[in-house]
C-alpha cells in the first residue's frame, strides 16, 4: 500500500535486498522489521489494568470529548517487543565508540540512573512546601558549589534546560547588566566556527551578529576582532576549547579587549570536558559560560535530550541571574521564586527550578570522579584525541598543526580525486560498526570531520577505531568508490532520502484513506 506521497505505508513486501532467498517477513535474522503502533495496535487494546469507576455526575461543564481520539494501544508484551525491536535499530554509546565531535559521547554510569530514581529525589513535586524538600535544595546547592569551584566563578544560574537555553540565560544576563547602565548596545561578535545556537541565541536577545574570521591556525583572529570591537558591542561569544578542537591561545587578550570596550565575554562551554579540573574559565576573564551537564558530566543524551545548561556568572553579572535560586541559610535552605525588593534578576526562563533529574546524575558523576578523577577525565580525553590525531594524520588531512584538545579535526583534502565525499566516508564507517564523527562542522574547513573519542575509550578501542579509519582511507584511495557512495550497506536501512522528506513533509501517521485530507 502506498500513501499520498507514493511511499509504502507498511513494512510488508519491502524486502528488496540482493540476498539469495527473499524473506517473507522482510526481517533477516536478528534484523527485524517493525511496523508503527498504529499498524500493530488499535484503539481497543490497552497495556494497563485500571479500576472501574461507579457512575457519577461529572463537572466537565458540557465539554466531554465525544469524538474518537484515535490513539492506538498495545498490551504490555506487544509494547515491550515493539520498543525492544526499535531500540535495536539505534547506535549507542553502550554499543561502541561514538566519535561525534562537540557532543562528548562518553560512558553514562548506571549508578547515576539509580540515584535519580531514589523516591526521595525522583518523586518530589516542584511546588510542595519548601520545608519538605530541604534535601533537594541542598543537592542543588552542592552541585552549584562543585560547578563554581571547577570553573572558578562566583555564581551559577541553575535553571536553564539545555546548552542553548544556557546561552540565552547568559546573554540575557549580559543584556540586563548593560541595560542597567543605560547602554543595551546592539552587536554580538561570534567566530565563524561557532555553533549555530550562538547566533540564534544572540538574535533572540535582539542582537545583530557580526562574524569574526578565523586565523590560519584555527583560532579567533584577534586583530580582526579588535577591529570589530566598539562601543556598540555587547559581548563576544567564544567557544573554548573551540569547535576546531583547539584552545584559544589568546583567550585572555580576547577577554581584555572586549572588557576594554565595556562588553562582556560569553564562553560557550560545550567543550569544557577538555579542561575540567585543569583550567578554570574564571582565570581566563570569562563573564558567563554554560555547562552542558549532558556532555562534560555524562547525563545521558537519551536520543536528543533532556540536557541541562547551568550558567556560571562573574560578579558583574551575578545580580542579574534568573529566578528561581537557592540560598543556604543558617538552618535551612531557602528557594527564592520572586524578585526581592531592589533585585535585578532578568526574569524567569522556565517553570519550576531546572533539570533536577540531570543535577542528580551530574553530581553523582562528579562525586564518583572527585577532584582527582575530573582532572584525569580532561587529560584522558585530550590524550585519546591526540592519539587519534597522531595516528591518522599521515593518511588523513589534519586541518591544523599542533596538539588538539579533546577532539581532532580533519578535512576532506585527503579524499581529493577519490570521488568519495565526507558524507560517503561517514556512511562507510557505519558499515564498519561505528557511528560516524561529526561531519561538515565546523564550517571553517572543507568537508569537516570532527572526531571526539572521549576518555571512556580504552586504548584497544581507540586502536581498533584508528585501524578501521586507516583501512577505509586505503580503500577510498584505492578507488573502491562504490563501497562509499552506496554506503551504508549493512545498516537496518540503506541511505535515506532526506530531500524527499523535506520536499513533501509527512510528519505523522494518518489512517489509510485519510491521507488526502491531511496533505498540505
Amino acid at each position: 500500500m502506498m500513501n499520498n506521497q507514493g511511499r509504502p505505508t507498511g513494512v510488508e513486501n519491502t524486502d528488496t535486498s540482493n540476498q539469495k532467498y527473499e524473506s517473507f517477513t522482510g526481517s533477516r535474522g536478528l534484523s527485524q522489521v517493525e511496523g508503527l503502533i498504529y499498524e500493530i495496535g488499535d484503539t481497543n487494546r490497552t497495556g494497563v489494568d485500571l479500576p472501574e469507576v461507579d457512575d457519577f455526575e461529572n463537572c466537565l461543564g458540557g465539554m466531554e470529548r465525544d469524538q474518537e481520539i484515535g490513539l492506538a494501544g498495545l498490551t504490555e508484551p506487544e509494547a515491550m517487543r515493539h520498543y525492544t525491536r526499535l531500540s535495536r535499530k539505534n547506535y549507542a554509546i553502550d554499543l561502541g565508540l561514538y566519535p561525534l565531535g562537540s557532543c562528548t559521547m562518553k560512558h553514562n554510569p548506571r549508578l547515576n540512573e539509580k540515584m535519580a530514581r531514589l523516591p526521595g529525589l525522583g518523586n518530589i513535586h516542584p511546588l510542595q512546601p519548601v520545608s519538605t524538600v530541604q534535601g533537594a535544595l541542598d543537592l542543588i546547592d552542592t552541585l552549584a558549589h562543585w560547578l563554581k569551584t571547577l570553573t572558578g566563578m562566583p555564581a551559577v544560574a541553575m535553571s536553564p534546560k539545555a546548552g542553548a537555553h544556557g546561552e540565552l540565560c547568559g546573554l540575557m544576563a549580559i543584556r540586563a547588566a548593560l541595560e542597567a547602565k543605560g547602554d543595551a548596545r546592539s552587536i554580538v561578535l561570534a567566530p565563524e566556527s561557532a555553533h549555530g545556537t550562538n547566533p540564534a541565541t544572540a538574535a533572540l536577545c535582539g542582537y545583530k551578529v557580526k562574524p569574526i574570521p578565523a586565523t590560519k591556525d584555527g583560532r579567533v583572529d584577534l586583530e580582526a576582532m579588535k577591529e570589530a570591537l566598539g562601543p556598540d558591542v555587547a559581548a563576544i561569544m567564544v567557544t573554548n576549547p573551540n569547535t576546531c578542537g583547539l584552545f584559544e591561545r589568546e583567550i585572555i587578550e580576547i577577554a581584555e579587549a572586549v572588557h576594554a570596550v565595556g562588553g562582556y565575554f560569553y564562553c560557550d562551554g560545550a567543550n569544557f570536558n577538555a579542561i575540567v579540573g585543569k583550567v578554570r574559565p574564571g582565570d581566563l576573564g570569562v563573564d558567563a559560560m554554560h555547562i552542558n551537564l549532558h556532555k562534560t558530566f555524562s547525563t545521558p543524551h537519551g536520543g536528543g535530550g533532556p540536557g541541562a545548561g547551568p550558567v556560571v556568572l562573574s560578579e558583574a553579572l551575578a545580580p542579574f541571574a534568573p529566578l528561581p535560586y537557592v540560598i543556604a541559610g543558617e538552618e535551612s535552605f531557602e528557594l527564592v521564586e520572586h524578585e526581592v525588593k531592589g533585585g535585578q534578576s532578568f526574569g524567569r526562563m522556565t517553570a519550576f527550578h531546572g533539570q533536577m533529574g540531570m543535577f542528580i546524575r551530574a553530581l553523582a558523576y562528579m562525586m564518583s570522579h572527585g577532584a582527582d578523577g575530573l582532572a584525569k577525565v580532561a587529560e584522558d580525553s585530550v590524550l585519546n584525541a591526540n592519539y587519534v590525531l597522531a595516528s591518522l594524520k599521515d593518511v588523513m588531512s589534519a586541518s591544523y598543526k599542533g596538539p588538539c584538545m579533546h577532539e581532532a579535526l580533519f578535512d576532506d583534502r585527503f579524499l581529493k580525486d577519490t570521488g568519495v565525499s565526507t558524507l560517503d566516508f561517514a556512511k562507510a564507517m557505519i558499515d564498519e560498526g561505528y557511528h560516524p564523527m561529526t561531519m561538515y562542522f565546523p564550517l571553517v574547513v572543507h568537508g569537516a570531520m570532527l572526531i571526539e573519542p572521549t576518555e571512556s575509550e580504552s586504548k584497544q578501542s581507540v586502536d581498533q577505531f584508528i585501524g578501521m579509519m586507516r583501512h577505509l582511507v586505503e580503500k577510498a584511495k584505492a578507488g573502491e568508490k562504490e563501497r562509499f557512495t552506496g554506503a551504508p550497506h549493512n545498516a537496518p536501512l540503506k541511505r535515506l532520502d532526506e530531500t524527499a522528506a523535506a520536499r513533501k513533509p509527512v510528519l505523522r501517521w494518518t489512517p489509510p484513506g485519510a491521507d488526502e485530507e491531511a496533505a498540505e
Binding site: 494501544g73 533537594a136 549555530g196 537519551g302 533536577m356 597522531a390 536501512l493 535515506l496
Partner: protein
C-alpha cells in the same frame, strides 16, 4: 578509577606515539598561569557505595509524593507510571544514543518520535506536532514567538488564569522583541473577560485549558473572533491526561497547542526534566520551532524516518532560525510515547475518568468542611478552594500531620491578598479514598 579505562602504561605508550613527554605538553596552548598546578578544592573520588551514602542523606530530607496523602498539582502531577516504561527507557540503545543525525543507525529513536508526533497531534486535535520542547512553559514562550512570525502582529493577550510561571516565561521570551503583552488579572471563580482586550493588532491570545485554577472553559467563540481578524489562539494544557476526557483544543479552533507532557510517562523529578508538547495546523509547519521527524524512503524504497525541515533550525539557519533550541526532551519524549501506547485510547479515557471521578468525590467530601468553599463550577482533576485562614499556614500545619494538602495560591501571587486564602487541590489516580478522608479530617481540625 572505574570509569577511566586507560592504564598508566597505556598513557605512557600513547604519549610516546604522539611524541610528547608529559600530558601537560598537550596543554601547551593554555596560558601558563591558567593551567592549575594542584587539584581543585573538592573531595577526591568516591566508591559507588560512598556516593550512594551521600545521596541517601539528600533523599532522606525530602518527603516523596508516594509517602503521604498528596494533593499538589498546578502544572506537575503525581501519576502512576507503568513499570515497562522505565525498563524501556533504560535500554542502552535508547538511553545512550545521540540526536538521530545519522538516520540509518537511528531508526529506533526516529520511529518513536514519529509515533510521538502522531499521538500529540491526535491528543491536541491538531494536524502536526514537533518532536518536543524542554517543557510546557518554554513551549509556551515559543508559541508566542511563533504567533508573531505567523501573524506579523505584535500584541500578545494573556489570560490571567495561565500558570503564573508560564506567564513569567512568556514575558521573558519576548522581552527583546518589540511585542507588547496585555495581561489579565487572575479570576478564580468568575468568567474572564478576554474578548474586550483583543483587537486587530493582536498576534495571539494565550489561554490555559483546564486553567491554572482548574476551570474548564470553552474557547470556541474566542477562536472564531480571533480568526476573523487573523489572530491566533494558543491553548496551553498543563495536565495532558485531561485530554482523555474533555474536547481537544483543536475542536475549539486552537491554532497552536502547547502542553506539559510530564503526566504521561514522566516522574515529578522536582520540576524537570519534563517534556514540552507543541502542535499546530499544517499551514504553519514551516514556522514551527524545534525538531521534526518525517517519513521518507531509503535507497531501496523501504520506509524510514529522518529529521526534516531542518532549514528552520539553528544549525542551518543560524541567526534566522525559528528558535535557538537544539537538545530537547528526547528520553522524556520516549517515556511519554511508551506510556501513551500502553494506555491506548481505552486506557487514557479510563485514566482520565478515574482522575475526574476522584476529584468529584473529594469535592463532594469537602462540602462538609466548615470554613472552606469550593470556587470552581467546572474542573477536571484539580480545583481551587477558599479557606477561612491563610492557605500557606494551613498547608504548613498539615505538613506536621504528614499531609501535603495542595498549592497555596499565595506561593505564586505573594503580593495579592485576595488570593491569600486560596488553595489548589489536585487528585490523581494515586490518591486513595483513605487519603481523601485524612485530608478532610485534618482540614476540619485546622479550620475550626
Amino acid at each position: 578509577m572505574r570509569y577511566l579505562p586507560l592504564s598508566t602504561e597505556d598513557r605512557a605508550q600513547m604519549l610516546d606515539t604522539i611524541g610528547v613527554k608529559s600530558i601537560n605538553d598537550l596543554f601547551v596552548d593554555v596560558p601558563k598561569h591558567a593551567l592549575l598546578d594542584d587539584l581543585v578544592d573538592l573531595p577526591l573520588h568516591m566508591t559507588e557505595m560512598e556516593v550512594e551514602r551521600n545521596f541517601a542523606v539528600f533523599a532522606a530530607r525530602n518527603v516523596p509524593a508516594n509517602s503521604v496523602p498528596f494533593f499538589v498539582g498546578a502544572g506537575a502531577y503525581h501519576h502512576h507510571v507503568p513499570s515497562a516504561v522505565d525498563y524501556q527507557i533504560q535500554r542502552g540503545e535508547f538511553l545512550t544514543a545521540y540526536t538521530p543525525y545519522q538516520p540509518e543507525i537511528s531508526q529506533g529513536t526516529l520511529q518513536t518520535l514519529y509515533e510521538f508526533q502522531t499521538q500529540v497531534a491526535q491528543l491536541t486535535g491538531m494536524d502536526v506536532a514537533n518532536a518536543s520542547m524542554y517543557d510546557g512553559s518554554t513551549a509556551c514562550g515559543e508559541a508566542a514567538l511563533m504567533a508573531r512570525r505567523v501573524t506579523k502582529k505584535k500584541k500578545i493577550v494573556i489570560s490571567g488564569n495561565l500558570h503564573p510561571q508560564y506567564i513569567e516565561v512568556v514575558k521573558n521570551a519576548i522581552k527583546h522583541t518589540d511585542d507588547e503583552i496585555i495581561l489579565n488579572d487572575p479570576v478564580v471563580n468568575k468568567k474572564e473577560d478576554i474578548l474586550s482586550k483583543v483587537d486587530e493588532e493582536t498576534s495571539c491570545v494565550i489561554v490555559q485549558y483546564p486553567d491554572f485554577f482548574g476551570n474548564i472553559n470553552d474557547y470556541s467563540d474566542l477562536a472564531a473572533t480571533l480568526h476573523e481578524q487573523k489572530s491566533l489562539l494558543v491553548v496551553v494544557t498543563t495536565e495532558v491526561v485531561s485530554l482523555g476526557a474533555i474536547k481537544s483544543p483543536g475542536e475549539m479552533g486552537a491554532d497552536i497547542v502547547v502542553g506539559e507532557g510530564q503526566s504521561i510517562g514522566n516522574g515529578l523529578n522536582f520540576g524537570g526534566p519534563y517534556v514540552g508538547l507543541f502542535a499546530t495546523r499544517q499551514q504553519y509547519v514551516r514556522q514551527l520551532p524545534g525538531r521534526l521527524c518525517g517519513e521518507t524512503v531509503d535507497a531501496d524504497g523501504k520506509r524510514g524516518y529522518v529529521l526534516t525541515l531542518s532549514t528552520r533550525e539553528q544549525h542551518i539557519r543560524r541567526e534566522k532560525a525559528t528558535s535557538n533550541i537544539c537538545t530537547n526532551a528526547g528520553l522524556c519524549t520516549l517515556a511519554f510515547t511508551i506510556h501513551m501506547t500502553l494506555l491506548g485510547e481505552k486506557g487514557l479515557r479510563q485514566l482520565a475518568k478515574i482522575n475526574h471521578a476522584g476529584a468529584v468525590k473529594l469535592a463532594g467530601m469537602l462540602k462538609s468542611v466548615d470554613g472552606l468553599e469550593i470556587l470552581n463550577n467546572t474542573f477536571f482533576n484539580e480545583f481551587t478552594v477558599r479557606l477561612n485562614k491563610n492557605a500557606a499556614d494551613v498547608v504548613e500545619a498539615l505538613v506536621e500531620q504528614d499531609v501535603i494538602a495542595g498549592l497555596p495560591v499565595s506561593r505564586m501571587y505573594p503580593d495579592n491578598p485576595e488570593l491569600a486564602n486560596d488553595l489548589i487541590i489536585a487528585v490523581t489516580e494515586t490518591v486513595s479514598e483513605d487519603d481523601m478522608y485524612v485530608l478532610v479530617s485534618e482540614l476540619k481540625e485546622v479550620l475550626k
